[in-house]
């Protein structure tokens, strides 16, 4: 039971490292952007895990219901806005990748570096 309660943290750790691993080991820029998104999602999961309270419910007050336990609204607010900022930065990264492809004809970072060195 205690171990199951820690499962979310393990998944957070594994997802974070999968994202970091792909970010380091993959050369394709679009793949790197997706790896960054996985990394980011892991952090979101960590925050939302911390907001959960046992037997709690979503923090929306219902009229006529007393003694309700609400989960912590604060991490939810932080992550809600972070998701939208995340998509904006993903789009910016994609735009850079598209421009790089137009200039270099490739989006593999080792090939881009090789082209830079030979130039």
């Amino acid at each position: 039971m205690k171990l199951l309660g820690l499962f979310n943290y393990w998944v957070f750790a594994v997802l974070l490292m999968i994202g970091l691993f792909a970010l380091i080991s993959r050369q394709n820029l679009i793949k790197k952007i997706m790896a960054l998104a996985i990394f980011q999602s892991a952090v979101f999961l960590f925050f939302i895990t911390m907001s959960k309270i046992e037997n709690g419910t979503a923090p929306i007050i219902q009229a006529g219901v007393d003694n309700q336990i609400f989960s912590n609204p604060l991490p939810q607010v932080l992550i809600l806005t972070a998701i939208v900022v995340g998509i904006s930065t993903t789009a910016l990264g994609l735009a850079i990748a598209v421009r790089l492809y137009e200039e270099y004809g490739t989006i593999e970072d080792n090939e881009i570096l090789a082209l830079d060195r030979s130039a």
């Binding site: 309660g5 820690l6 499962f7 979310n8 943290y9 998944v11 957070f12 750790a13 974070l16 490292m17 994202g19 970091l20 691993f21 080991s25 993959r26 050369q27 394709n28 679009i30 997706m34 996985i38 999602s41 979101f44 999961l45 939302i48 911390m50 309270i53 046992e54 037997n55 709690g56 979503a58 923090p59 929306i60 007050i61 219902q62 336990i69 989960s71 609204p73 604060l74 939810q76 932080l78 992550i79 809600l80 806005t81 998701i83 939208v84 900022v85 998509i87 904006s88 993903t90 789009a91 910016l92 994609l94 735009a95 598209v98 421009r99 492809y101 137009e102 490739t106 989006i107 090939e111």
Partner: protein, 325 residues
């Protein structure tokens, strides 16, 4: 217990999907898998009582992000080259850090522990005082728009800045006025009957739902961020079926730019109005005679600003990618 088990099952699926994304060499399948990843993430958020976050993740992550990645993929090679073979060091270090973090997790409070440090700080105050100070049912919206309005203002400007960056890199889409559009040109999926009929049925309801999410955000999960993303998803669906040119004619790029900047400025203006009426920056209590009415006015106006900016920026970004050949 059952919820915990369902959660563990969904989280396992999440890890499997993440591994599949990293392993796929076909970027198209990787993008599709990342859509599934976001949807699973949204389900997990929902199980963890974060209804607002789940709604955002489903609309933004599974919807808009997938479309943007596909739009980017249209302009770049669809497969990934596997060059350099992996050295041993990278996986070893990564695995070691993962094991360290799992080891550290044994010092963490168990999931749902009401005594956890995160539940002791300011959150009980928010939950206790919201009915009295802001008087709206959705505490998440109250924290987002009122208590931490300053943070949210910053986030809106970050979104705007990212949008400006994409415009600079790719150039904004250019549209023709509606009257000069040649209606005989077939674009998008307009020749395909089933998508066309489905879209015609769905688009109005998606847009209506977005407006509901926008203006009902104080009472139920929702608000400007989610509404903006859902509205954009509706317009993108319209664009896929009826073609890019018609969409640009219906909502010209200039309008989108005005929406992006105008929303952020509207938000800032509410803050300045608070100063002008004798309060602090982003203090809504002074906006009306009754502090609670002032809070309601402030929250509705800034949520509108957020919705306008998110819609304008995301749609401009989509057009910027779609307009490029």
């Amino acid at each position: 217990m059952t919820t915990l088990l369902i959660g563990a099952f969904l989280l396992s699926l999440l890890v499997i999907t993440a591994v599949a994304i990293v392993r796929a060499t076909d970027l198209f399948s990787a993008v599709m898998l990342s859509g599934i990843f976001s949807l699973l993430m949204a389900l997990n958020f929902f199980l963890l009582d974060a209804a607002d976050v789940a709604l955002t993740e489903a609309a933004v992550g599974a919807g808009v992000a997938t479309v943007l990645l596909l739009a980017g993929l249209r302009l770049t090679p669809p497969t990934e080259a596997r060059g350099r073979s992996l050295r041993v060091l990278t996986p070893a270090v990564i695995a070691a850090v993962a094991l360290l973090m799992i080891y550290a997790s044994f010092g963490q409070p168990s999931l749902g522990d009401p005594q956890a440090p995160a539940q002791q700080h300011v959150a009980p105050w928010y939950i206790e005082k919201t009915p009295e100070l802001v008087d709206i049912p959705n505490i998440v919206t109250a924290v987002l728009a009122s208590y931490r309005g300053f943070d949210t203002l910053g986030e809106v400007f970050v979104v705007l800045t990212a949008g400006i960056g994409v415009m600079f890199l790719l150039g904004g889409g250019r549209g023709k006025p509606f009257s000069r559009l040649d209606s005989n040109v077939e674009e998008g999926l307009s020749r395909h009957l089933i998508p066309k009929v489905m879209a015609r049925l769905l688009v109005p309801f998606i847009l209506l739902f977005a407006l509901f999410i926008q203006f009902h955000g104080e009472y139920s999960p929702g608000g400007g961020f989610q509404a903006g993303a859902i509205f954009v998803a509706g317009i993108i669906l319209f664009s896929l079926v009826r073609g890019e040119r018609l969409t640009l004619a219906v909502i010209p790029p200039r309008v989108l730019l005005w929406m992006s900047a105008g929303g952020a400025l509207l938000y800032g203006a509410v803050g300045l109005a608070g100063i002008a009426m004798g309060g602090n920056f982003l203090d809504y209590s002074v906006l009306a005679d009754d502090p609670i009415t002032g809070q309601h006015i402030g929250i509705i106006v800034i949520e509108l600003g957020v919705g306008l900016t998110v819609t304008g920026v995301l749609l401009s970004i989509f057009h910027a990618f779609a307009a490029r050949d």
